[in-house]
Amino acid sequence: MAATTHIGRSTRRVDGRAKVTGEAKYAAEFNTPGLTYGYVISSDIAKGKITKIDASDALSLPGVLQVFTHENAPRPAYFDRKFKDDDSPVGEKFKPLYSAEIQFSMQPIGLVVADSFEVARYAASLVKVEYKAETPETNLRKKPKGHKAPTGKTGFTPPKSRGNAAKAYKNAEVQFEAEYYHMPEHHNPMEMFASTVIVEEDGKLKIYDKTQGVANSQTYVTNIFGLSKEEARVINPYMGGGFGSGLRPQYQLYLAVMAARELNRSVRVVLTREQMFSFGHRPATLQTVSLGATKDGLLQAIKHEALGETSRFEEYTEVVVNWAGMLYHCDNVELGYYLRNLDTYTPLDMRAPGSVTGIAAFETAIDELSYKVGIDPLELRLKNYAEKNEFEGKPFSSKELRACYAQGAARFGWAKRPAQPRSMREGTKLIGWGVATGMWDAQQQKSAAKANLSVDGKLVVGSSTADIGTGTYTAMTMIAAETLGLPLDAVTFKLGDTTLPVAPLEGGSWTVASVGSAVKEACEAVAKKVFKMAKDVKDSPLSGASFDEVEFVEGKVQLKGDYSSGVSIVEAMRAGEVNFIEEETTTMPNMLKQMQYARNTHSAVFVEVEVDEDLGQICVRRVVSAIAGGRVISPKTARSQILGGVVWGISMALEEESVLDHHFGRFMNHNLAEYHVAVNADIHDIDVIFVEEHDDIVNPLGAKGLGEIGIVGVAAAIGNAVYHATGKRVRELPITLDKLL
């Protein structure tokens, strides 16, 4: 019997082989006889009306089955609520092909369905569209006046304030204020959004959809088209990157289902890379931070205000401004959060939404203050360390941020940092060191899971969650195997199928905490049954024992630490005369316990950059990221998560921006040649430290979730290092070389 202790031990991804061999199939790769292909026609303009749409040339092309436009497409549901999904903000929902009105550039205005992809694509180019265009407004900075976001059912809680920040700022010995801005960014996962809708013989739909929540897609489709859950099964076993882009159903799902129902044919719709810029994105955000402090660096006042973009029809909100008031001790905190409606599509959660934006600005401001008061930026942070969440007066369930600072600084060699900017140089390269803090939530959601242990010792566990590349398959397999004392290869974890017990959307860094807790509970329910059978085995060494006194190791149930006392699982089940034991559980967070505490992950990020003195080119030579994220379940995939976050942080700091031409209201760099994401050559040394953090409040596993925290703070640390290297402060992301000339 192989080792059966898994949690906290590095293991390879259980789905790694399937992924590298191509055995793992994605939404656009499932085939069926008679499959047809839809190609989306996108609007050339950002605002106005379609005055004429002529599909006759396209329809006359051999192989074209239909061209759907607002003139002939069905309108299966009228009310907005039918189009709601688990992540939709308040507002009107976008309904594809419902009207001639254009609300954003690249809006889908037609779907060509043909018997081959190539014919559909060519036919789409033959559809002639005339518009009555209006002037779009897409520039957040042109009139930076916003309105307050609506509160209530959307779950948006307005940021809290405390004390009197205006007065404290006015009276402070040291004052600092600055404005920060970043451009919109797109998720740009490798895999394009795709839906393959298979119409089965009985008329039911089997839908392979790129999504971070099959249940969400199913609800969306069944509500709109008036179907039962049995009539629309949604499946998504693998995902080529999500980053939040799959938290809402994208329009190809609607179009594929609509066409399949209208034509009674199986239909696949795949978006192009260009069309990947036609929906949600990280919103452009303009922020102002004001800090008041004593001469020796104690924070007296924090003011943080943000203006984010949203569409004309939905009010997208994110938590941008709350973080500073939780990270630092300060009696006077004033926060403001505003939205401005623009002629773009609604923004969408993108890795560490809000936090990555707000902390990028705030942790830069703290750095700026450190030079003003002449205190080392790390020391300044420690001086103002928050021992509790001062908004709510609640203690943290655990907070090992001090250990992050200390261990990160030691690994990085921070103590040797000269205080003055421009004091390290190698030839034409200026060297700088920067630090920043990161913070994210440690949440747990309601989740269900099912475990089935068969008499041959094989365990199958399932939940409808997703693995968006984060390692869900691996972590869940480890949790299940450990709970029942089995080797990893005896366990199969299934996900991404609406026939499995319902899991929440895969996002918010809560999957391990939520689904993992459900998996553990389902497996424990099985374990209890095994234990009962094991007690009933003839001459059972466990006959007098209670469940708390036993453990499951190496395929046996035994008295804790007593290898001689074991009864094998197989033996117990045979004695119990069952072929399998199946248990399904729904796990709820322990709200009463959790709500007494603030629950967060923290990080400290240390960065070394080199900047060419004359040419402005920046290279991030070293990053040390120290993470306090509770118990680490799967060290290898956890480390990969943080590495990926740091890489994206570098990309965000130096390269990523979706550039709008405000005249056309259109993103112009809509491909991976011109929308720059970091490439291998940009990435150098990255060191990840997980500090010890024990937490029995957050969930039964003690794991806090690591999906988001890795990216938070990286951009600020890089910007701070660039300042230390050059003496130039760039307050607009990305920091491209022209901003340093």
């Binding site: 040419l615 259109r666 050559a681 070389l737």
Partner: protein, 330 residues
């Protein structure tokens, strides 16, 4: 992508005739650019004439220097020992471009025919004079980070995106072409053209003319020691140049016998100015002298908003590249 017919050429002359007789026919070699453009519906040829079976792959010594067959791939050329030893500037420039996969497919001849990366050229929803003559230039008053600052016109501010061509310009390569009227040799400086009021034309070839080879002159070997290809871009790899500089010096001690400087990412063609290079003839390799060259090369430069920074960047890049070349830093 429209439907099109495809034919494989078995002789240069017949291929040339076929395309010269059909305005909607185009050549294809490595296909690393035209296939993308067809998928974007930017290029809509009705016929593609595939040149890749023609016997034009060899890299060979001639009495004039080294001859690169038009169908030699960028990768083969960059790693060819003769190129690495005698024309390392070219090798360096090729390897600064694209990705390993693309360089394996892209040919030397095809590299000359790369089309601009101007955002508007690629997006059929926006006007572009290069794509649809007479429709207007969206870049002039739009987003023009990748666009030109030298030799632009009111109808087009696009740049030529090649790295290889910048080195070929500095090395004063010549291009051998064959058309329906026979063979001719074109100086590299005369191969590409400025946009003027015909931005749809990237080069001075006649319809149907095929590049058969590129000659690297024997006297270019003088620059095998003191050269550099400096490429400035928005990420460390797989990005087009904001500004690139091919700098080559023939030195006698610290005195410059001859200098070559070509710029990429700034104009509709690789930008050279012999008068600017002549400023260094017989002069010492000093920063002040390099700054004079930079000022001369950027004379008349004009920015359009999001690319105005390139004027200063190009000046600094020229000084840096020449300094690196003196020091033998490549």
């Amino acid at each position: 992508m429209n439907s099109f017919s495809y034919t494989r050429a078995d002789a240069v002359e017949t291929a040339s005739r076929e395309v010269s007789n059909n305005q909607t026919a185009q050549f294809v070699a490595g296909g690393t650019n035209i296939l993308d453009l067809m998928k974007y519906n930017v290029e809509r040829p009705t016929r593609l004439v595939d040149l890749t079976r023609l016997p034009l792959k060899e890299i060979e010594d001639t009495d004039k220097g080294l001859r690169l067959g038009a169908l030699a791939t960028n990768a083969t050329t960059a790693y060819d020992e003769r190129v690495e030893e005698r024309y390392p500037l070219l090798s360096k420039a090729i390897l600064a471009g694209a990705s390993a996969q693309l360089r394996n497919m892209a040919t030397d001849g095809g590299n000359l025919f790369q089309r601009t990366r101007c955002y508007y050229f690629y997006d059929t929803a926006t006007p572009c004079n290069k794509r649809e003559p007479g429709s207007g230039c969206s870049a002039i008053n739009g987003y023009n980070r990748v666009c030109g600052i030298l030799g632009t016109s009111e109808s087009c501010i696009a740049t030529h995106p090649s790295d290889m061509c910048v080195a070929l310009a500095a090395l004063k390569a010549t291009v051998n072409v064959t058309g329906t009227e026979g063979e001719r040799t074109v100086e590299f400086a005369d191969f590409h053209r400025l946009p003027g009021n015909e931005p749809e034309r990237d080069n001075n070839l006649k319809p149907g003319e095929i590049v058969t080879s590129i000659d690297l002159p024997a006297d270019g070997e003088r620059f095998a020691k003191n050269f550099t290809y400096l490429k400035l871009r928005d990420r460390a790899s797989y990005a087009f140049a904001l500004v690139s500089v091919a700098a080559a010096l023939d030195l006698d001690g610290d005195t410059i016998k001859e200098a070559r400087v070509a710029l990429g990412g700034v104009a509709h063609k690789p930008w050279r100015k012999p008068e600017a290079e002549d400023l260094l003839k017989g002069q010492k390799a000093t920063k002040e002298n390099f700054e004079r060259v930079a000022a001369s090369l950027l004379e008349g430069a004009k920015g359009f908003g999001s690319n105005t920074f390139k004027i200063e960047l190009a000046k600094r890049a020229i000084v840096r590249a020449l300094t690196m070349a003196v020091n033998g830093q490549h």
